[in-house]
């Protein structure tokens, strides 16, 4: 679907209250949103709880209900949450230095495993595409890879050192078992394994046209040949790789800087997410959300990516997380320091053009 600037609008569908402190992060359950399964997402907060929300099945109602509150487990802020690809498990990472694994048992969520090891705050959790590996990272500068045997049996297979500061986020590549991490040390590191021996195969820093301050998040496009990162340096950077045949054992194909998007946010950009249709959403400490798409103008020296839409004052305070929903509808959830979650729909304005 071709989208051009001015041809779409961002509609606020719902504003969800419930958390009693800032909402740091949210994650959509990937096994929901199609085939009649109502959309579900989890949110995590400074109030030490995780909330699970479900879209009410009524076709006329746009409302969301909080199906579960996961509490009395983490003893500090819950910073990150991620569903396994089959939607059956939820991993939550906390400032209490642990990662909890939750399973939905007949509508109730039970904590089936607790992963310990980090020396201090866990900042991010991520499942690989196959659901067999979980990665965590934290202020202790390390990245841990855990192998999921069963729902409640996790074994640490590697502790990766390399970052020189606090690691803010980990994210597995969408199709390959290659792990990416971004840090307060202003770099992105790429980790790959050679027969279960994990090591850093590339570092993207300032010499590579990289960021000049803390990198808070990164996200891949659907095909996995491009990645976008966002930073305290107020920019978003697009990276690309051209070799997707990593199974061939040729070694790792390097990532390189493609372009930098600057001037769109004037405070730290905390979150970025690339939709399956190719729309990049960013959320920042300027309380706003921005949307970017590839520029198909075809001008020789023109920018490769352009602003599609901006929503200033999306929230009353910092936007910490933006996430596109799975499934058929083009929905975006945003989480904020103001303690609320908003559900938006990016809708086309024009009704012509054959769609």
């Amino acid at each position: 679907m071709e989208l051009s600037e001015g041809a779409c609008e961002l509609k606020l569908l719902d504003r969800l209250e419930g958390h009693s402190d800032r909402v740091w992060s949210l994650a959509w359950n990937p096994a929901t949103g199609s085939a009649g399964v109502p959309l579900v997402f989890a949110s995590c907060s400074g109030d030490k709880t995780v909330r699970v929300w479900e879209h009410a099945p009524s076709p006329s109602s746009a409302s969301w209900t909080c199906k579960a509150v996961l509490e009395d487990t983490h003893t500090r802020t819950v910073r990150s949450c991620a569903w396994s690809p089959d939607g059956k498990l939820l991993a939550t990472g906390s400032f209490d230095a642990t990662t909890s694994i939750w399973e939905n048992v007949g509508g109730d969520f039970e904590c089936v495993a607790t992963l310990e090891g980090h020396e201090n705050e866990v900042k991010s959790v991520s499942w690989n595409a196959g659901g067999t590996l979980l990665a965590t990272c934290g202020r202790d500068k390390s990245v841990w890879i855990w192998e999921a045997e069963l729902a409640n049996e996790f074994e640490c297979v590697s502790v990766l050192q390399g970052h020189t500061q606090d690691v803010k986020m980990v994210q597995w590549h969408p199709t390959m078992d290659v792990l990416f991490s971004c840090s307060y040390d202003n770099t992105i590191k790429v980790w790959a394994d050679d027969d279960d021996d994990w090591r850093c195969v590339q570092t993207l820093g300032e010499p590579n046209n990289g960021h000049s301050s803390t990198i808070w998040a990164l996200s891949f496009n659907a095909s996995g040949d491009k990645m976008v990162s966002c930073s305290d340096d107020l920019t978003l950077k697009i990276w690309e790789t051209n070799n997707m045949n990593m199974h061939s054992g040729d070694g790792h194909a390097p990532w390189r800087h493609l372009c930098t998007l600057s001037g769109y946010h004037d405070r730290t950009i905390f979150s970025v997410h690339w939709s399956s249709e190719g729309i990049i959403a960013s959320g920042a400490a300027d309380d706003g959300i921005r949307f970017f798409v590839e520029n198909k103008d075809g001008l020789v020296d023109g920018p490769l990516y352009k602003l599609l839409l901006k929503k200033e004052k999306a929230h009353e305070m910092d936007v910490n997380s933006v996430q596109w929903s799975p499934g058929e509808k083009r929905l975006l959830a945003s989480a904020s320091d103001d303690g609320t979650i908003k559900i938006w729909e990016l809708a086309s304005l024009c009704t012509g053009n054959g769609y």
Binding site: T77, R139, Y184, D232, D318, D338
Partner: protein
């Protein structure tokens, strides 16, 4: 943790004369830098039984407000170049001012230029809200901050 005080001999200044505030001439929405200063001047230094004002860590010039953008900048001067308490002072300021401003105001806290050996790294840490949030969940740090904020009148 060092065993002795970071700065054993700070220079102490007399408390500045408190001027009685006349009626607020600003609109309700505007934030008055002098009011903010009044609110933070008596925060006790983490190491010494004196206020940040008495040690010249803070002064009236420490606070700048941009009402249009909704931004506040607080600049403080640690007593010595290698002060390791700079981040604690920053935390004290954030906690003290946490509910002071309307929610849309953004607060940046920095050491005054040239006042610290690791100025850039201290400023980066002071303004990383995730680091600040985690620090305030650390009971030892929280206790130190609370002592600085709630110690009896000097």
């Amino acid at each position: 943790m060092t065993l002795g005080l970071i700065n054993a001999n700070p220079v102490v200044h007399a408390k500045k004369e408190r001027v009685a505030r006349t009626e607020d001439l600003h609109g309700d929405d505007a934030v008055d830098p002098l009011e903010i200063y009044d609110f933070v001047r008596d925060i006790r230094d983490p190491e010494h039984p004196y206020s940040l004002e008495q040690l010249s860590v803070l002064s009236e010039e420490s606070i700048t407000v941009d009402d249009k953008l909704g931004r506040i900048l607080i600049t403080f001067t640690p007593t010595i170049q290698h002060c390791s308490m700079a981040t604690v002072i920053g935390l004290c300021l954030r906690v003290k001012l946490k509910h002071y401003f309307p929610p849309h105001y953004k607060v940046d806290i920095k050491v005054s230029p040239g006042s610290h050996a690791n100025e850039e790294s201290v400023n980066k840490q002071l303004n990383d809200k995730e680091r600040v949030a985690a620090a305030l969940e650390n009971p030892n740090l929280r206790q130190l901050v609370d002592e600085c904020l709630y110690s009896n009148d000097l």
